[in-house]
């Protein structure tokens, strides 16, 4: 099917308040060029397709196509016990499995009214913030790779990520597919040696952020490529349900750690960095600043953690049958609001199991950010959204 100029005129006539450019007028006569970027394209993280209609280099229309990595996660979870879904949640956003575990455990704990011991809450915060740190570091690495910095910043990020993954492996037995949290606590306790090694790694993280800052933040090429590109207006971001660093880069103060104070987050002192312009550079900077805030939370948590049990004595591992009802557990995952919505009909498996994935919902504004920019910037804007296809398609 060929795309004509008439189609683009229809797009331009969207209701007021959307941040679409007032009118994109094609410069040349004739038909637009339709290009399918992906699903196997070096610039896409995983299998994602963008159908773009181009007028020369300018993007006139962009249609995201996903579903290539669909694994039937929700329906599988409805057919098995509550515990058996826990390892599957690792595979949603496989860059940060700990936070997926956490959101799911939180939803089931809400459903059953399960208490979580203090030490387990601290361990969750420590692991969650380490996850946030390594996610932001590698996402900045990927972003620079999309700009053409082949490898160097990414390798620096992965060097640091490796130290954190080593800590995960030592505690949980796996680098990525951790399967660590349980309803009512955590699976294994951290040894004093592990906490000591974590303190050592955390002490080195600030140096890494400084190094990254010197390497990238004032780099002229990065600034030229990212500043003013892919602007997301705060009104549109709120209307579209965008969350996480993308929303905060647009200047909206919304962090579920502050809003809900789930777990024990209201005990820690940290600030929520906010952006001004909502462009790609702001998203980069927000991630940089959030890494620094994560280090602050980690230091406080590692100082305050006390010995104690990590599993609640009333916690049930097998044969969980919650009373009929529903629960929505949400956390501030590194990519945005990650929520699990569960309905129980009293049986051993959930009646309905729904994931609210931040990656998918942040992607819905991709076209609005990309209209009128050059093709090379589409790749960059897509990278700045920070998605994982395992979570988008589920």
């Amino acid at each position: 099917m060929s795309v004509t100029h008439g189609d683009c005129a229809a797009i331009a006539g969207k209701p007021e308040g959307w941040n679409r450019p007032a009118a994109i007028e094609p410069e040349n006569e004739g038909e637009l060029l339709e290009v399918a970027m992906g699903p196997h394209h070096p610039s896409t993280h995983g299998v994602f397709r963008m159908d773009v209609a181009l007028d020369g280099e300018r993007v006139m229309r962009l249609r995201p196509v996903f579903g290539y990595l669909h694994r039937n996660h929700e329906k599988i979870a409805e057919g098995q016990s509550y515990l058996a879904s826990m390892p599957y949640t690792d595979r949603l956003d496989y860059i940060c499995p700990i936070t997926n575990n956490w959101a799911y455990a939180l939803a089931v704990e809400k459903l059953t009214g399960q208490e979580v011991p203090e030490r387990a809450e601290y361990l969750r915060v420590i692991l969650g913030e380490l996850t946030r740190f390594q996610n932001h570091a590698s996402s900045i690495g990927f972003l620079t790779q999309e700009m053409g910095a082949m490898g160097t910043p990414l390798m620096y990020a992965f060097r640091e990520r490796e130290k954190i993954l080593d800590l995960f492996e030592e505690l949980t037995g796996a680098r990525m597919m951790v399967n660590y949290m349980r309803f009512g606590g955590c699976r294994v306790d951290a040894s004093p040696g592990w906490l000591e090694r974590t303190r050592k790694v955390v002490a080195g993280l600030a140096g890494f952020v400084d190094e990254f800052d010197r390497l990238l933040s004032s780099n002229e090429i990065l600034m030229a490529r990212t500043q003013g590109v892919g602007v997301l207006q705060p009104e549109l971001a709120v209307n579209a349900g965008v969350t996480g660093p993308m929303l905060r880069a647009s200047g909206v103060n919304y962090d579920i750690r502050k809003v809900d104070g789930y777990g024990i987050y209201n005990r820690f002192k940290f600030r929520v960095p906010l952006g001004d312009h909502g462009d790609v550079y702001d998203r980069y900077m927000i991630r940089m600043l959030e890494m620094r805030e994560s280090i602050k939370i980690l230091e406080q948590a590692l100082n305050e953690i006390q010995p104690g049990p990590v599993m609640s004595p009333t916690a049930k591992l097998r044969g969980l049958r919650p009373k009929p009802g529903e629960a929505y557990g949400r956390i501030e995952a590194p990519k945005g609001e990650l929520g699990f919505y569960l309905i129980s009909d009293g049986g051993p498996n959930p009646y309905r199991y729904r994931v609210r994935p931040p990656s998918l919902i942040n992607l819905t504004v991709l076209e609005d950010m990309c209209l009128g920019v050059n093709v090379a910037d589409v790749v960059l804007i897509f990278g700045s959204v920070d998605i994982v296809l395992g979570e988008v398609d589920r």
Binding site: A84, E162, M177, L215, N219, I221, M223
Partner: protein, 201 residues
């Protein structure tokens, strides 16, 4: 000045590059397979079945020593359903001497297994544990990745070797259970003799 940021960044890369010649902790990789990093104690790669051997080392009595009693809890709880168990018809004595069923067949399809270790957590008999062996590639897609109970059986000594702390706690727990079971048998026997003596009187 234009280009200052780039120069600053280049200085950082140069520091990292030359630093790797002087400082050993800047070298972050090892040359596998010549050099290897020992796996962590908590590492987990596919389950195995533990057996208690009377004379460790020869592995001849693996079948008699299997702790598994074919209760099939792990088969039921396994998320990807990669375990297949067939219960035996007859019974054999377990470690406290109580007659128990044993698995006539115990297969794990490791092409399906995702090493989540839920089978280990739900096993009440400490019979299934996680291995650390990861070099398992084979050119036989179907038969080679479907492990039967003989391939899965590994001795308690091997378990001690790969997970020393965990194995000692398990051993202590089993020993305590054995003492309790023996005491129970003894008191039952004592009660029986007392009852017989009471009848006789």
């Amino acid at each position: 000045m234009l280009g200052e940021g780039i120069l600053k960044g280049m200085a950082e890369t140069a520091k990292n590059f030359f630093g790797s010649y002087f400082s050993a902790d800047r070298l972050t990789t090892v040359e596998y397979p010549e050099q290897r990093i020992a796996p962590y104690e908590a590492a987990r790669v596919f389950p195995f079945l533990v057996y208690d051997s009377k004379n460790p080392g020869d592995g001849a009595d693996w079948e008699a020593g299997l702790r598994c009693v074919a209760c099939q809890i792990c088969e039921k709880e396994c998320p990807p359903k990669c375990i297949f168990i067939e219960k035996s018809q007859d019974k054999k004595p377990d470690f406290v001497g109580k007659p128990q069923f044993y698995p006539a067949r115990f297969d794990i399809d490791i092409s399906v297994c995702m090493s989540c270790q839920i089978c280990v957590e739900v096993c009440p008999f400490e019979a299934i544990k996680m291995d650390t062996e990861f070099e398992l590639s084979t050119d036989d897609r179907f038969g080679g990745l479907l492990l039967d109970r003989k391939q899965l059986a590994k001795s308690n000594e091997y378990y001690h070797q790969i997970h020393p702390t965990e194995a000692s706690t398990v051993d202590a727990r089993l020993a305590a259970e054995k003492v309790k079971a023996e005491a129970r048998v003894k008191s039952a026997a004592a009660a029986k003799t007392a009852a017989i003596a009471g009848e006789g009187a």
